[in-house]
């Protein structure tokens, strides 16, 4: 029994990792006031880019870097449309998803089903990984897992304890106030969109170069949409992203474990969305909750300099 629990928890953390990475990305983006609904497409492109570059170069690290770069560039399109052209962010995001899925299908065709010879390595942290139970759950993972945790902590620290964090949050809350203090609002928005795209790319390359070690169409399996819900579930906080990512990661794992017991995986795959609705409901019911539910005040609104 203990073995099963340890195994479930270990796999939960692994399954939560792409959700965590991409959610951190969406949090950064939305904190700057931009909604990016293109996560599914970006993750898919990240997966295919990561796979191809890892396959050809033999280095999963290069694959990861390439995925980050390509997806940052791809999200720059979204940035241009939303920030410079001030078009509808929802429409642009949906278009980005379709574009990303299209690109990944095209690029990935020759690689479908090929196994990746050298996946991203594991790092059993000396000493710590030998601790009974906890060692396996927490300290015997691949590089992506540690990196994602590190990035989450870094993002929390930046938002909370640095002037960069104040700038980023202010740009999403009240861009005019930021502008009046000499901050180049749109530049900050661009950087946030690029960072968000890069993290989505990283999440994608995790799927193809570490998690499954192969490329298939539909590899992201709706994770990009879960990420959108998760960002709300997390109340735009990195801490909430950890909680949500591992919770929903656990649901992914349980889907397969519970199937033999006659529980339909479809019910479980509804849970991320249901629980997001539940969070919105619970917080929306009370006034103080509404305030804690701190969606950036200008989320989705284009910013025009010098407008009244």
């Amino acid at each position: 029994m203990l073995d099963i629990i340890v195994s479930v928890l270990t796999r939960t953390i692994v399954a939560g990792t792409p959700l965590l990475l991409a959610t951190l990305g969406e949090i950064i983006t939305e904190r700057a006031g931009i909604i990016n609904l293109g996560m599914e497409g970006l993750m898919s492109t990240g997966a295919v880019t990561g796979f191809i570059v890892s396959y050809i170069s033999g280095s999963p690290w290069l694959g990861m870097l390439a995925a980050i770069l390509v997806c940052a560039l791809l999200s720059a399109i979204h940035g241009f449309v939303c920030i410079s052209l001030r078009s509808n962010q929802v429409v642009s995001g949906l278009a980005l998803t379709m574009l990303g899925i299209g690109i990944s299908g095209l690029w990935g065709k020759p690689y479908i089903g090929l196994p990746l010879p050298n996946r991203m390595g594991h790092l059993n942290i000396k000493g710590l990984s030998e601790i009974p139970v906890l060692g396996r759950i927490l300290f015997s993972h691949g590089w992506y897992v540690y990196l994602s945790v590190l990035l989450g902590i870094v993002l929390w620290f930046i938002l909370r304890h640095t002037s960069l964090g104040i700038t980023l949050r202010s740009v999403g809350e009240n861009p005019k106030a930021a502008e009046s203090q000499g901050i180049a609002v749109n530049r900050v928005k661009y950087y946030a969109v690029l960072a968000g795209g890069g993290l989505a790319g990283m999440a994608g390359s995790f799927l193809s170069t570490a998690y499954s070690g192969s490329w298939n169409e539909g590899i992201t399996a709706g994770r990009g949409w879960i990420v959108i819900a998760l960002t709300i579930f997390a109340l735009w906080q990195p801490g909430g992203a950890f909680l949500g990512a591992y919770l929903f990661g656990g649901i992914f794992v349980l889907q397969y474990m519970l199937q033999p017991l006659g529980i339909s995986p479809n019910i479980l795959s509804m849970l991320p969305y249901l629980s997001t609705l539940l969070v919105l409901l619970l917080f929306g019911l009370t006034a103080s909750g509404k305030r804690k539910m701190n969606a950036p005040a200008t989320l989705g609104e284009p910013y025009v300099r010098g407008e009244r």
């Binding site: 002037s163 949050r169 809350e173 009240n174 106030a177 502008e179 009046s180 203090q181 000499g182």
Partner: protein, 503 residues
Amino acid sequence: MARIQSLEMRGISKSFLEVKANRDINLSIHAGEILGLLGENGAGKTTLMNILYGLYLPDEGDILVNGEPIRLRGPKDSMRAGIGMIHQHFMLVDKHTVLENIALGFDEAPFFFPHRAIRKKIEQLSDQYGLRINPDKPVWNLSAGEQQRVEIIKALSRNADLLIMDEPTSVLTPQEADELFEILRKMILQGHSVILISHKLEEIMSICDRVMVLRKGCLSGEASIEDVDKGKLAEMMIGRQIAAAYDKADVKPGGTVLDIQDLHVDSDRGLPAVRGLSVQIHSSEILGIAGVSGNGQQELVETITGLRQPLKGSVTMMGQPLKHVNARDAHTLGITHVPEERIKFGIVPNLPLYENSVLKQHRDAPYSSWLRMDYPVIKNHAGDLVNSFQVDTPSVNARMKNLSGGNIQKLILGREISSGPNLLIAAHPTYGLDVGAAEYVRKQIIALRDKGGSVLLVSEDLDELFMVCDRIAVMFEGEFMGELTPDTWTIEKIGLMMAGSHG
């Protein structure tokens, strides 16, 4: 850093598309001076100051500090030059704390742990200038006066030698305004200079050393404060003497039209906004509601017009209870509404004028029958409104959004009162209108009263209330502090009541 001994703006012009907001304006100010910048709404005061703060680039003209020309490409340049600005609508992030707001974009704030480093600076400045503030409170939790103090500290922390304040007292009670003036006087003694924008003559007279007056984008006068009086300033501002009060027909209020009993209403935040109000409005009567905005006026108006559900209490219109289901109920009972945000709630900007002229009435005869709209009748009606309410428009087919603010308001007012309403609820009906349009709107409101209608007029403009109303009730934190009539009201009394003391 060199302190600003003198600052000069020379030949400044600025246009927005077809609007010439500033035309060849010269301005100068010296250290230790408070310069008043006076002008009606839309005169171009804010535009001129936004240029000085680097937010807008002027089309023409130069800015000189201590005789040296400088280029201001953005607020950062201005801050470096020692210019600080406090906007009419505070540039604060509501959800963030005072500390975070002051740290935002601040060069001296370190990258790591900016909060800690800035706390000292805030404490020092609040001691030096008597600006009491709790640095850890979130801004939404602060009163307007406190938020203003945050803005002042923000400017001072950036070493602003010249402080621009855009209509700083518009959100303050008279007492809070006095406190602000104390602070400004302290700053002057320490070598700062201040440009104070206002359209209140009283204020300019009481605190400024010199005054410049703008009218329709041009400089229309400049004087030392000793050389002018209120009448002269008003003349410079609007080009003629202000009408003291409007002529009203000598009619006495009649029977009760609207009866509000023990009304309790919550705000959007879920906090009590209206707390046990009871009031009656009679026919041939204009009841004014005075008070600093945010004391429940908006919630009260929304409840009477059917837009908001009360928690408790009743609203009765001509003996019939308002069921508070939606705005249509209020409309059918004969309650009409000139809303505060006229563009957002008063019109549909993308529809033509004629369709806007029958909003709410469009489903009734003669404008429609069953499924069919009778456009010839509607256009006729629109044409009548345009003529009788002096709406300046190329035709009734013009898109509503292409009309100017004053003309939009005239059409809304015409639409609401032309059908002969029992009751008009007007929220800030002249806010942001030019003098001519404002005067017209006020006269129409009085004409309505003279014909036997009743009006509830919510306004922050005390002069307007004095000129128009038969009775004024002062609202504070959701309650009436008292009622005043023309023979009892004074600015001082209303000021005290606006700050929460019972009359």
